[in-house]
Symmetry: D2
Subunit: 364 residues, 4 copies
C-alpha cells in the first residue's frame, strides 16, 4: 500500500524527490475545457517559494513549472495533466553525514525501516516539504474549477508559537490583509509579533509551530458522502498529508467538546430564501456533508523539525546512541509557505467531492 494518489474523481499522484531530478504530479479527472491561463499555476507556486523572507529557508528555487500533458490550446482536454518542476538549487552534501542518523521529528527512521534502507535520504527524499510544490500546482487547477462555481478557498495564519489573533477577522479582513505581511495573517499588528517570535527562534537555532485556518466560501449544501467518504474526513486526510500537521479540526473543533448542545448546535433560519445557520460551530459540515455555510477547518503544524541545536539520535548502522547537529538550509517556521499548500489541498479535495456529487458545472 505505497500510495501516492489522493482522490476518487479528481486524482492527484505526486512523484519526485527533494534532491532528485524534479518533483511533479499527475492530475487525473479534470473536466475538459477549463481555460488555464499563462501564469495561473506559477502565481500559486510563487506563494510557497522559499527564500522570500528571512523566516524561510534560503534554498532558492525558481520553481518553474512545465505543463507536459493534458492541455491543448490553453484548455484542459480531460486527459491527465502532468506538471514537472525541476530541482535546481540542490546541495546534498550535508545529508551524507547523517545518512544513518535519523533526525528527530523527521520521517527518517520509519522511512528507513519501510524502504529497507533503499531510500533516497538526500533532503528527506519524498518526505520533504518540497513535495508540496506539485500539490500547489494541482491546487491551481482545482481553484480554477472552483471559481467557475463561485467558490473561494482562503487560508490564513491564526497562531504562531502561541501568539494568536486578537479577534476573529472578517472574510474581508482576511482577503485584504493576509498578503500584507510574510505571516499571511489578517491582523497586521499581531503579525509583527509573530514574525519576531519566528526570528527569535531562528536566532537560537530553534523553530516554531503555527495554526493555519482555511475557509471555503459558497460550497453548495449536500457535497460529500456518508459514512466513510465524509467531506470532513477527506479534508482531514489530505491535510495530514502535509508534512508537520499534527491536528485538524472543523468549526468549533476541540472547543466544541467543551460546549453544551444548546450552545454548539447551529440553529437554522431563512435569509432571502436561503437556509442559513446563526452560528457556524459545525464549520459548514454535518454528517460528512457540506451544509451551505462556509467550510472552516484549522490545521495545527508542529515546529519544523530541522533545528540547529544538538540533538540525540541513534546510528542505525552501528546501533549506538550518538549526538547530531544539523547543518543545511531550513525553515524556522512553516509560514508563509504552508498557507498556499493548505489552500491547494482543500481545493483539490473539494473538487474531488464536488465531481462525485455532480456539482462541478460543465466548463465549456
Amino acid at each position: 500500500m505505497s500510495d501516492n494518489t489522493f482522490g476518487k474523481n479528481l486524482k492527484i499522484t505526486v512523484f519526485g524527490e527533494s534532491h532528485g531530478t524534479l518533483v511533479g504530479m499527475v492530475l487525473d479527472g479534470c473536466p475538459a475545457g477549463l481555460a488555464v491561463e499563462e501564469g495561473m499555476v506559477e502565481r500559486e507556486l510563487d506563494k510557497r517559494r522559499p527564500g522570500l523572507d528571512e523566516i524561510s529557508s534560503s534554498r532558492r528555487e525558481a520553481d518553474t513549472v512545465e505543463v507536459v500533458s493534458g492541455l491543448f490550446q490553453g484548455r484542459t482536454t480531460g486527459a491527465p495533466i502532468c506538471m514537472i518542476i525541476r530541482n535546481r538549487d540542490v546541495d546534498s552534501t550535508p545529508y551524507e553525514a547523517i545518512r544513518n542518523k535519523p533526525r528527530p521529528g523527521h520521517a527518517d527512521y520509519p522511512a528507513y525501516v519501510k524502504s529497507g534502507g533503499y531510500r533516497d535520504y538526500r533532503g528527506g527524499g519524498r518526505f520533504s516539504g518540497r513535495m508540496t510544490a506539485p500539490i500547489v500546482a494541482a491546487g491551481a487547477i482545482a481553484k480554477g474549477l472552483l471559481s467557475l462555481s463561485g467558490i473561494e478557498v482562503i487560508a490564513h495564519t491564526i497562531e504562531v508559537g502561541g501568539i494568536s489573533l486578537k479577534k476573529l477577522p472578517t472574510i474581508d479582513e482576511i482577503r485584504r490583509e493576509r498578503y500584507s505581511n510574510p505571516i499571511r495573517c489578517a491582523d497586521p499588528s499581531q503579525a509583527v509579533k509573530m514574525r519576531d517570535a519566528i526570528l527569535q527562534a531562528k536566532n537560537v537555532g530553534d523553530s516554531i509551530g503555527v495554526v493555519i485556518e482555511c475557509i471555503a466560501l459558497n460550497v453548495p449544501p449536500g457535497i460529500g458522502s456518508p459514512i466513510f467518504d465524509n467531506l470532513d474526513g477527506d479534508i482531514a486526510k489530505i491535510l495530514f498529508s502535509i508534512p508537520a500537521v499534527k491536528g485538524v479540526e472543523f468549526g468549533a473543533g476541540f472547543q466544541a467538546s467543551r460546549l453544551r448542545g444548546s450552545e454548539n448546535n447551529d440553529q437554522y433560519f431563512l435569509e432571502e430564501g436561503v437556509i442559513k445557520t446563526k452560528t457556524n460551530n459545525s464549520g459548514g459540515i454535518l454528517g460528512g456533508l457540506s451544509n451551505g455555510m462556509p467550510i472552516v477547518v484549522r490545521a495545527a503544524f508542529k515546529p519544523t523539525p530541522s533545528i540547529a541545536l544538538p540533538q540525540r539520535t541513534v546510528d542505525l548502522k552501528e546501533m549506538k546512541d550518538v549526538s547530531l547537529t544539523l547543518s543545511g538550509r531550513h525553515d524556522p517556521c512553516i509560514v508563509p509557505r504552508a498557507v498556499p499548500v493548505v489552500e491547494a489541498a482543500v481545493s483539490i479535495c473539494l473538487v474531488d467531492h464536488m465531481i462525485g456529487s455532480g456539482a462541478i458545472p460543465e466548463v465549456l
Copy 2:
C-alpha cells in the same frame, strides 16, 4: 461518490438504517484462518449498547449479531465476512412530525439536499449513531488480527464538558480503571464529576461533549504510506466517520504548534537494542509512518445534537422559520458508547495499513 467503504486491504462496507430492518457490514480482505470465538464480537458490541446507564439513550437493543458469511468451522476463510444486527426497539413516531424540519446539529438538512428528499428520515436513517454498531462488529475481527501481532488498542475518556483528567494516566491505570466507571475514564474520581456534569446537562434537556483518546501499543515501525495514504491521515479519516467528531490530533497535537522544535522533537535512544524516543510528541507517527512508539490519537466529540430544549429551524416544505422541540430517546453524552467505536475504527485502519505493509502475520 456515495461511498460506504473504508480501507484498501481490509475493507469495511456498512449498510442499513437506524429504523430500518437491520444494520450490518461486510468486511473484505480478512486473512483466512483467524479463529473467531463464540462471543468475541458480542463482547465488543456490548460495550456500545445503549441503555446501560442513565447517561445513555433508553433505546434498548439486544444487538444480537448474526455472522452470515465468511466464517467456516469457527475460522475466517478469506471470504467477505458479513454480519447483520437486527433493529428491534424502533419507535419512528417522533420522526414523522419533524420530517421536513431539520434538527440543528444533525445531518438532516444536507442529507435532504443530497438525496433529493428521498432519504429515510426515521431516526436519522444512516446518519445515526446506530451505524457505529457494525463498525464495532468489524473492529472485533480487526482486534483479533492485531492481537496476533501483539498489538493492543485502548481508548479512554480524557475530558467531558471541559472536565479533564488531573494527570496523565499510565497505560496500566487506563487498562485497570476505564471499565470501573460508566465514563470509561482512567481517573475514577474525575469520572464521578464527569458523570455529574452529564446528568446535569441531561436534567435541563441539554447535552455535553467529550474528548476520547486512543492508544495503540506495539505497532511496529514503518507502517503507513507517504504521501497521501498516511497512517495518521487514514486514522483521522475513519475517526471523522464517527458522528459528532469535530477534531482529531496526534501526540502533542494542537499543543505542538505552541512548542519550539527543541521541545517538540522526540529524540532517539536505544533501550535493550530497540530504538525509542524519550518523549512521544509525535504520537507514534512521523511522515505518515508509524515509528514504533505508541500511537496516540485524540478525537473531540461535540455535544450530542439531540436536545430537549426548543430550537429554531426551517420547514423545508413550506420554507418558513419554525420552532422545533424534539422528543425521542437520546444520549445526553456520547460516552461510554463512543469509546469502543473509537477503538474499533482505529483497529480497522491499523489492520488495513499493516496488511498493505506486509506486517500482518499469516494467521494459520
Copy 3:
C-alpha cells in the same frame, strides 16, 4: 487483494457461500429516487433459478430476496442497497468425501492454496455459480436505472456445443424468441437441436459449453474512459467474474483479426441528424468509449466442470494420485441460467461508467 467489489461509481460487493446461511450483495452508489417496484428483483432472479427444465440442476431454491437496506417507501435513498437470499435446499454431504480432492475444472485447488486450507469447500463455497444470484439482484436495480435513459440490455444464446444460429437474428427476433425456449435462443429451430445436445451430454454424465451474446441498445456515445478504464475492459472484467467464462470479444472480435482494415472499419454516415456507422464491427466501442452504436459483446463459457464421468485428481492431504467420481446435482450446461447473469453484469458495468460520465439522469 481479496476483493469482492466491482465498480467505482456503482459498486457491488458480493458475500455469502453456496452452502452457507445465505448469499447477498451490497450495491453502493445508486442514485436516490429510483422506484423499485414489487417483484422487479424477483422477476430477474426467476430467470436464473435452477430446476426449471431438465437441462438445469435439480437444486430447488425459491431464491426469495430480502431487501434489507437502501429502500424507503418504495424508492432508493442513495444509501447502500443490501439484498440477501437465504440458502434453503442445501445438501453438503457429497462434499465431505471430496474435501481434499480438487475437482478438475473447478477452483478447488487454487482456492485451497489461497486460503491455506481454511476455505468453505461445501458446494464450492464462494466459487459457486450460486454467487451469481446476488449479481442478478443488483442487475435488476441497474436495469431500472438504465431504462430511465432508454437503454435496453439483452442477452441471448448464440452457440451451444458448437451448434450455432443459422443467421444473425434481428433485435426484434431476439426480443420475441429468446424466452420461447429454455435455451434463450432467438432461433427456435436451432434451439431444439441445442437442447438435444445438452440432454445427450447429460445422459452420458458429461457437460457442454455455450456462447452468449449481449447487446446494449441506446447507450449514448462518449461513455467510458481511456486509457485503463475502458468500457470494453470493464465489461470484459466483470464478464470474467462469471464462473466458466473463458473468452470475451466485442463486435467482430476474433474474426476482426482476419479482416482487412477496409472491411473492418465502420464508416460513418448521418441518419436523421444522428451519426451512425454502416457496419458495427467495433461492437459499439472505440478507444474504450461507446460510439452510440449498439454495444455487442460475446462471452464463451466452457462446459460446466461438474461431470459424472470418473476423473483423475490428487489427494491434497495424502499427496497421491486418485480417481474421482462426482455425485451431487449439477447443470449439464450453463444456459438458460447464465443468460440473465450476463445481462446483469453488463448492466451494472454500464451504470457504473454512465454515472462516471455524468450520463445517468437525475431519477427524481
Copy 4:
C-alpha cells in the same frame, strides 16, 4: 471517471499525448531495492519502436527514456517511479484537415463527444498507440520483479490476417524463434507468409489484423482474487487497454465452448511432488486464481484503422457526410510493435496481483 490508472498494488498511471511534449507514466507501489540496470528499460522500448521494418510506421522515435523519480543509486526506493519519453519526430500537419472528420475505426468520434471538442486531436492524442510506450517502460520494471520469482512472460504472434501457425510451438521454440523474424512468430516459415500478407495489404493502402498469445511461466498457484478481482478479469481488462484489441481468451478460450466437460476439464496428477494438469485448457486460471500451470492468454487485434483507401465519414462541425482520405505515417499491422506491449501489460497485472497475494519476494 476519467481514469488513467491500472492496478491496486502496483499502479501505473499514463500521461501525455501522441503529438504533445512527451508521453510518460508513474509506477507506484514497486517494492524498494529492485536493481534497475542500465539499458533494462531501453531494451524493452526498442522492441516496440517504429521504423524497424517496412511493416511498421515510418515515424522515427529514439524513444529515449528518462527516469525522473523513484530510483536511487540504481535501485528502486519504494517511491513512485516516473519515466518520461519525449516526442521528437512529430508531424501534426495531416491532422488539421481531419480535425472534425472522425476516422473510421479510430476513437476520434467518441473522444470528441467525451471531451466536448476540447481534445488534442493531433495524432490521436491520448488514443494513440504511442501511449503504449510508457506501458512498455513500466513493464520492464514489472519483468524485473517477476524474474526474481522465476517468472517469465513471453508473447508471440500466432496469426496474421488469418494465416496461423502450422502447429503449436513449444516454449523453447517460441523463446528461440520469435526474435528471428519481424513478425515475432515462432514458426519462421509461416512468418514469411505473414510478412508478405502485411506488405500486400500495405501496398494497396490497407491494413491487417493479428492474434498475439502471451504465456506466463512459473506463476505460483493461488494468485488472484474472487469474485471480482479475478486474475483473468484483470489481465483481460489491461489487454483491452491496448488499442485495437477486440477479443481476449484464456486457454482453450472460445474453443472451450465447443468441447465437452470430459474433454475440457484439466485432470490433476503429481509430478515429482508438484500438482500439475495433463492438459491446460484452463490457460492456468481457475475461479479467477492461478493454478500453477502456465498462464496462456490470446488477444485478437483488429486491423489498424489508419488506411490509405478513401472512406466515408461525417464532418462534425458541418454535420454532413463527407469522404476522407488519410495521409500520414501508419502501421499496416500492429506487429511486431504490439508484442512487447502485450508482455508488459500482462507483467504489470501479474505483479499487481502477486503483491496483493503476498507472493512478491522481498527484493533486498
